[in-house]
Subunit: 135 residues, 4 copies
C-alpha cells in the first residue's frame, strides 16, 4: 500500500482556452508538475537526480476522465498515489481536486517508464528507488 501525496497547482492565464476553462491537455501538465514535486519532496529523489544517475522517466499511458471544468480563479491541488512500481513502470493514480469543495475535476491513471538515457531503453527500476517509493 502506497501513500497518497498532495501538491497545490496554480492555474495560469495561458492554461485557459476558448471555452474559458483550463484546456484539456493542461491537466496532464498539472499531474506531471505534481509528480516532479512529489519525486523531490515526498520520495526524496528529484528528476534531476534521476538524470544524474543516467535515467529519465517517460509517459507510457494516460487515462483521464474529465468531471468538472476549471476556471482561472479556481484553487486546485493534485492528489497522486502510486498503484504499483515494478519492472520499468510506475502506475500512478491521480485526482485533480478543487480546494474549495474537495470535488474532483478530473481523475485517472498514468503509467511512467524509467529509461536509461544511455541506451534509450526501459530498465528495471533500481532497488533503492523501489524502496524510496514504498512510503
Amino acid at each position: 500500500m502506497y501513500s497518497a501525496f498532495e501538491t497545490p497547482i496554480e492555474i495560469r492565464p495561458d492554461d485557459i482556452d476558448m471555452n474559458n476553462h483550463v484546456h484539456y491537455s493542461k491537466y496532464l501538465d498539472y499531474v506531471l508538475t505534481a509528480r516532479y514535486h512529489q519525486m523531490k519532496e515526498n520520495y526524496k529523489m528529484s528528476m534531476e537526480e534521476f538524470i544524474e544517475r543516467g535515467y529519465t522517466w517517460v509517459a507510457s499511458k494516460v487515462e483521464i476522465n474529465y468531471k468538472r471544468a476549471l476556471k482561472l480563479s479556481d484553487k486546485i491541488f493534485v492528489r497522486a498515489q502510486i498503484d504499483s512500481a515494478r519492472g520499468a513502470q510506475v502506475v500512478l493514480n491521480f485526482w485533480i481536486i478543487k480546494s474549495e469543495n474537495n470535488k474532483i475535476a478530473a481523475e485517472g491513471q498514468m503509467v511512467f517508464s524509467i529509461i536509461s538515457t544511455k541506451s534509450g531503453r526501459p530498465v528495471k527500476i533500481p532497488d533503492d528507488v523501489i524502496e524510496k517509493y514504498s512510503v
Copy 2:
C-alpha cells in the same frame, strides 16, 4: 461504420521537452488540431459553426498509449475515426503516425461531449450532425 480521415501535423519547437522529444501533453493538442480540421474539411461543420449554433465540444475522456518518441524533425499525421456518435457523445479512435514509415507513435480513444453554451450542460447531438458524421 465510420470513415477514417488523416490530417498532417507540423511539430513545433515549443512542443519539444527536456527529453528532446515531443512533450506528452502535446499529443492531445495534435489530436484536437486534427479533430478541428476534420470537423471543417471532412464533416463540413466547423467548430465555429457549432459555436454559432449555441454548442461547444468538451473532452470527457482520454486514453492514450505512447509507443514511440517523436523528434522535432519527424513528419507525422493524425488518423482519426469516429467509433460511435450517440446521445451527447462522440467516441473517437485516433492514431498518431510517423509519415516516414507508417509506424504508430501513439494511439488511443477520446470521448467528446457536445454542450449547450447557454445551459453549460450536455445535449443530444443534433440529427443533422449525426448525419454529417455518417460519412
Copy 3:
C-alpha cells in the same frame, strides 16, 4: 510614482525546452500570471471583474531582454511596476528574478490596452481603475 509588486512563479516541467531551460515564450506567460495576480491582490480589481464590466486587456507591445537561463529547479518571482496608465494603455516594467541570489533572469516592458468587449475597440481606462492603479 507607482508601486512595485512581486509574485512568485512555479516553473513547470512543460515550460522546459530542448535546451533544458525555460522556453523563451514562457517568460511572457510568467509575467501575465503575475499581472493577473497583482490585478486581483494588489490593485483590487481582478480580470474577472474587468470582464464583468465589459472590458478585457490585450497585449499591444512586449520588449524583453533575456539575461540568464532558468532551470526547472530555479525559484523565481516576477517584479512588476506600472510605468504609466493613461488613455487606453498601461505600460508595465517587469523583472523576472531568481530568488536564490536576486539576479535578473529577464527584464523588459509590456504595454497592455483595455478593450471594450462590446466594440472590440480600445477605450479610455475608467477613472476608478486609474485610481486603483495609483497605489
Copy 4:
C-alpha cells in the same frame, strides 16, 4: 542585404486563449517555428546540424508589436529577414501576416545568440554559417 523568407503557420486550438484569439506568447512560438524551418530550408543548416556541431541558439531579446488579433480560422505566415549577423548574434526582423489580405498581425525584431553547448557561453558565429546566411 539579406533575403526575406516566408513560412506558413497553422494556428492550433491550444493557441487560442480566453479572449478567443491567439495567445500573445504563441506569436513567439510561430516566429521560432518559422526560424527553424528557414534554417533548414532556406539557409541549409538545420538546428539539428548546429547541435551536432556543438552549438545551440538562444533568444537574447524580443521586441514585438501586436497589430491585429488572430482567430483560429485565420491563415497566416511568418516573413523573416536577417538584419545583421555578426559576433555571436543574429538580429532578425519578422512580420506575422494574414494570408487573406496581407495585413500585418504583428511585427518586431528578435536577437538570437549562438552558444557553445560545451561551455554554455556565446561564441563567434562560424564563417561558413555567416556565408550560408548571406543569401
